[in-house]
């Protein structure tokens, strides 16, 4: 998988080799997804990992490829979880339509937030998305359908169109794996499309893109909407997996966690967020015995990453192999 920063034209030969490497990595990835539950890893842990990996990849579309740090992505993640949970449990729409409802809600929210925040750059953008997300948090705290502090509990996993029963954990895992693969593929294709190239152009030099006649604001809002929608897909799926949607999903700490995942793995790389999500989720899982020291460990990792390790793990590997 090629990284983004070089705009050097590839010769036919290297292009073919890159493409081959891409297929190879995709094949390995699909094989890994397929056999993972048989390697003695707890399936619930794997599903959690996939949901957060998709969340981080969607978030990275903004941070890594447009250069905009959104500190409010928890709003999309959590709200989609609530909507999916409510749609499946109360409206009995079925699992697939529930997840779709969550995804669409997050996309619409992304469109509105994007339209408000997109005129600002850098830290202003971060602060505005954070404040808007906090508004969503208080809405979720007070709205009747979210059940305040309790959240929505006991969401049925249901079936896929009445054909596939998701109550079986292994079946559920493959359902989640397919959703992850689909979301990841969409993001991968987006990044490597002309649209994705335009986004990278905005990241590198926005005035140049404006003078070249690109509708920069529109492109940014589109990217933000898409990032929000896929974040929603991840959140809705998470609600089905864990059969609950709670305030933790919309809390701004969740936004911080996804930033950390992307930073550790490597922003602006396609696989970085997946690796980062794996590390953060594993740390939380295995360090859960030390109680709230986990927060301190997370904070320390943040500080270390920013001070010494800004490219992240995947970014660092790519930088070394390219040399």
């Amino acid at each position: 998988m090629t990284d983004t920063t070089s705009n050097v034209e590839l010769s036919d030969d290297t292009f073919r080799r890159h493409r081959l490497a891409g297929y190879l990595i995709a094949a390995v990835g699909i094989a890994a997804l397929a056999v993972a539950p048989f390697l003695g890893i707890y399936p619930i842990f794997l599903m959690k990992l996939l949901c957060f990996a998709l969340f981080a990849c969607a978030f990275n579309l903004m941070l890594g490829y447009v250069g905009l740090l959104s500190f409010g992505h928890a709003a999309f993640f959590g709200m989609a979880a609530y909507v999916a949970g409510h749609a499946v449990k109360v409206w009995e729409l079925g699992t697939v339509f529930g997840i779709a409802a969550g995804t669409v809600t997050a996309g619409v929210m992304g469109l509105v937030f994007g339209a408000i925040a997109i005129r600002q750059k850098g830290i202003y953008f971060a602060m505005i998305t954070l404040a808007l997300a906090q508004m969503v948090f208080f809405f979720c705290l007070q709205a009747p359908f979210t059940h305040g502090e309790d959240g929505i509990q006991g969401i049925p996993r249901g079936t896929v169109f009445g054909l596939i029963d998701l109550r079986d954990t292994l079946t559920m895992y493959y359902f989640v794996a397919v959703i992850f693969a689909a979301g990841f593929f969409v993001l991968y294709r987006t990044v490597h499309s002309p649209f994705g190239q335009a986004l990278k152009g905005i990241r590198e030099n926005e005035p140049r893109m404006i003078s070249l006649g690109y509708p920069v604001a529109l492109l940014k809002v589109l990217a933000f909407t898409m990032s929000a929608a896929i974040t929603g897909l991840a959140g809705a799926t998470k609600a089905i997996v864990f059969q609950s949607a709670t305030l933790t999903d919309v809390n701004w700490h969740m936004s911080g966690e996804v930033v950390l995942m992307t930073l550790i793995g490597g922003m602006g790389t396609i696989l970085g967020p997946v690796v980062g999500a794996g590390i953060v989720i594993a740390l939380q899982n295995y360090l859960s015995t030390i109680g709230s020291w986990v927060t301190v460990v997370m904070g320390a990792i943040f500080v270390i990453c920013v001070l010494t390790f800004r490219r992240g793990i995947v970014g660092e590997i790519l930088a070394r192999t390219r040399r």
């Binding site: 830290i123 404040a131 109680g291 927060t295 904070g299 943040f302 500080v303």
Partner: protein
């Protein structure tokens, strides 16, 4: 009982007073953020945690060393300010040449470390901190009851805000600071130790946050999470006011406090979101904030 717009007068004035007090804390914190941003170009995500630290240091001084409120009002900001200076020297100063985002991310990590550590030792339930003898009690103003301590909070924070504003706008030191914001290299060429100035600025603004924390200790309970919600409201205030302006952050801070108080009286459900709604409206109408100048 006298009523104003269908609300009993004491209730209305009571909420306005609470709003004014919250506004005082908002003003002190957003002022510190504005100063740090102006000189260091860093959004200090740890500001809320440092405010909490100020309150906790005052509480620790009282419980372990028997040092009371008045000395704490000076000592706690000093201790936290020195802590801030260490942070600036060892970490923040390495990031000035990079994208602003890294400063935000670093201070976010620091906030997690500081808050997490205090939560581990003291839990999230909170500790009471009594106001000093002389500031207990209150006055009956006829239309409402005014607790003395709360009046003192408003007066003290206003004095500090105005003092800081005068320092930055009316003194030679302030002129250097403002010049350094415009062109760091030029000010350095005049023989001024810019890195030292930046370090001291961060220390001073952090001390301001800690001062607000000590002031807040007798009003709220002293808890490791007391800064968490506050910092996001303060971010919204900074966006509403326009980041460049010190006066803007003071006025917006007080104003938002009052608006919150009024909302609590007339439509309580919206009181915690009204700040963010105002922020969205202001951004649509004036993208640079109420007092901000256009940015590059």
């Amino acid at each position: 009982m006298q009523e104003i717009l269908g609300v009993p007068a004491p209730l209305l004035f009571g909420q306005l007073l609470i709003g004014l007090i919250n506004g005082s804390f908002y003003a002190l914190l957003s002022l510190g953020l504005a100063v740090i941003f102006g000189v260091l170009n860093v959004i200090n995500f740890a500001h809320g945690a440092l405010y909490m630290m100020g309150a906790f240091v005052a509480w620790l001084l009282l419980h372990h060393l028997g040092i009371g409120y008045w000395p704490s009002l000076l000592v706690a900001p000093l201790i936290v300010g020195v802590f801030g200076i260490v942070i600036e020297r060892t970490m923040l100063s390495r990031l000035y040449d990079l994208d602003h985002l890294y400063g935000l991310l670093l201070t976010f990590g620091l906030a997690l470390i500081i808050e997490g550590t205090f939560i581990n030792f003291y839990g999230v339930s909170g500790q009471p901190y009594a106001p000093p003898e002389i500031l207990t009690g209150g006055h009956n103003l006829g239309f409402m009851f005014l607790p003395t301590y709360r009046a003192w909070v408003i007066v003290a924070s206003l004095l500090v805000c105005v003092g800081t504003w005068l320092l930055v706008e009316r003194t030679r030191l302030g002129a250097y600071l403002r010049a350094a914001v415009e062109n760091r290299e030029l000010v350095r060429a005049f023989g001024i130790n810019v890195p030292l100035m930046m370090t001291l600025t961060y220390g001073f603004a952090v001390a301001l946050a800690a001062f607000a924390g000590v002031l807040a200790a007798p009003v709220y309970t002293v808890s490791p999470i007391m800064g968490q919600h506050l910092i996001i409201v303060v971010f919204a205030i900074v966006v509403i006011g326009g980041l460049g302006s010190i006066l803007g952050s003071i006025l917006t801070g007080l104003g938002i406090g009052i608006v919150e108080g009024l909302t609590k009286t007339f439509y309580p459900e919206a009181s915690s979101t009204v700040v963010f709604v105002i922020m969205a409206i202001v951004l649509i109408l004036r993208p640079n904030g109420l007092f901000g100048r256009p940015r590059e």
